[in-house]
Each structure stands twice: as structure tokens, then as C-alpha cells.
């Protein structure tokens, strides 16, 4: 019997370059999905500052005493980094939604021949929506 050997050499060569639309879509969808669930956990963690806030807990914020919830959120929103991350999150969410819609259609057997085109459309639309939303997202950050 011949032994098998590690095919790293072939496996790696030109695999990524030759990926088809459907495979990129799969990778992006995966990535965005993980980011979203990750965000959901953080999101709830941050929001749960509302629990002590409702019990009257306060903090010092911009010189005045504010409830911990409002204080935390507003101070976070004041950070440019957070704003930029939010734009990223929007991009991620929008792509996941659009490509998710594409996948739902694929599951229904609709537009299978155009699966590559619909993926490119998702990408372009994501870009467009993200860019268009930047003013709204950045507003008030400075």
C-alpha cells in the first residue's frame, strides 16, 4: 500500500484565487454571521447596564451625574472608534441580510442560474448602503 502524504503544496496552490462566487458568498456569510452573534452578546452585555440604572445606579458623565445606562451608551457613542466599528457592523449586517435573502431564494429554488450575479449584487448593494449611511452614523460624533 502506498502511504498518503500531506498535500499542502497542492491544496494551497491557487485554491483561493480560483474560488467561485458561491464559495466567497459562503465564506462571507459565515464570517458576517459570526460577527453578528458575537455582537449580539456584547450588545446585550452593554444594554444590561439598564438593570442597575433602573434601580437608580448613577455615574459621573461629562461633569454631571447620569444614570449608568445612558452614561455608558452616550460615552461609547462619543468614541470615534465605536462609530467606525458601528459602520462596520452595519456593513456586516447588511451583507448578511442581503446574502441571507439570496440564500433563502436559493433554498426556494429561485434564480439558481443567477446565483453568482445575485452574490455580486449583494456585495455592491452592501457597499452602497454602507456608504450612504455613513453620514447618519457619524453624525454627532465630533
Amino acid at each position: 500500500m502506498s502511504q498518503s502524504y500531506n498535500r499542502g503544496l497542492i491544496e494551497d496552490f491557487s485554491r483561493w484565487r480560483e474560488f467561485e462566487a458561491g464559495m466567497w458568498a459562503w465564506i462571507f456569510h459565515k464570517f458576517t454571521g459570526w460577527v453578528l452573534i458575537g455582537y449580539l452578546f456584547t450588545h446585550i452585555a452593554v444594554l444590561s447596564t439598564a438593570i442597575p440604572a433602573a434601580d437608580g445606579a448613577t455615574m459621573m458623565f461629562q461633569g454631571s451625574e447620569t444614570d449608568v445606562f445612558t452614561g455608558t451608551i452616550v460615552s461609547l457613542e462619543g468614541l470615534l472608534l465605536v462609530r467606525i466599528l458601528e459602520v462596520g457592523l452595519l456593513a456586516v449586517a447588511v451583507f448578511h441580510m442581503l446574502n441571507g435573502t439570496r440564500l433563502l431564494l436559493v433554498d426556494l429554488g429561485v434564480g439558481l442560474e443567477a446565483q453568482d450575479k445575485s452574490f455580486y449584487a449583494s456585495l455592491i448593494l452592501t457597499g452602497a448602503i454602507t456608504v450612504a449611511s455613513v453620514p447618519t452614523f457619524i453624525a454627532g460624533a465630533f
Binding site: W34, L40, I44, F69
Partner: protein, 124 residues
């Protein structure tokens, strides 16, 4: 023979639920984004405003449902992804229950937050 097929095998059920939750999330997430970033701006968040929204039963239940479906969809998605990569045996069982536990914590904390806003379960 029918009864042998009468129950969904879990692969199919989860697959369907993933799609159904996705369809639901599509609408609710769009609404959520729109409401909290475009109608109200992120830097205008305040405890009072959040409370005001949460005190409405319709909004409250929508958000709870949102939380539940998103948690299911996200966690089930992660689990599927791992299984597809060949996660098997005890490792798989461990991962599965860890994910379930994380979901429970998330749901618990989420509901507590909502209740805090609403000042308890909202009664109209």
C-alpha cells in the same frame, strides 16, 4: 409506515427553523436598525426613551421575540458551521451544551434588561 416518517429528523427541522428565523430576522432587524439609527440617533439614547418604548406590550414582545430568534439563529448557525467542519463525538456534545448554556445566559440577561426598562412585565 407513515409514523416512521411523521417526525422531523433533526437535520431537517433545524434547517427549516434556520430559514424561518432568517426570514423573520430580515424584517425585524431592518426595523431595528431603522428605528435606532435613523429615526432616533445613536447619540440620543437615554434610559427614559428606551423605557418609554419598552413599556408598550407590542414593542416589548417584538423585542423578546427578536432576541429569541436571533439567539437561536446565531447559535444554531455557529453550531452548524462547526458540525459541517467535521465536529463529532464528545467534542460535539460539549460544544452543543456550551452553546445552549450561553444562549440561556443571553436570553436571561436580555429579558432582565427589557424588564428593567419596562419596569417589570409591561401591562399595557
Amino acid at each position: 409506515m407513515a409514523e416512521r416518517y411523521s417526525s422531523f429528523n433533526s437535520g431537517g427541522r433545524m434547517w427549516l427553523l434556520q430559514r424561518v428565523t432568517a426570514a423573520f430576522l430580515l424584517i425585524v432587524l431592518a426595523f431595528h436598525f431603522f428605528l435606532l439609527h435613523f429615526v432616533h440617533h445613536a447619540d440620543e439614547v437615554s434610559l427614559a426613551a428606551s423605557s418609554a418604548r419598552m413599556e408598550q406590550l407590542s414593542y416589548y414582545s417584538l423585542m423578546i421575540l427578536f432576541l429569541v430568534t436571533a439567539t437561536f439563529h446565531g447559535v444554531n448557525g455557529v453550531y452548524n458551521a462547526l458540525v459541517n467542519q467535521g465536529l463529532t463525538g464528545t467534542k460535539r456534545t460539549v460544544v452543543k451544551w456550551s452553546l445552549v448554556a450561553a444562549s440561556v445566559v443571553l436570553l436571561f440577561q436580555g429579558i432582565r434588561t427589557a424588564n428593567a426598562w419596562a419596569g417589570g412585565f409591561p401591562l399595557l
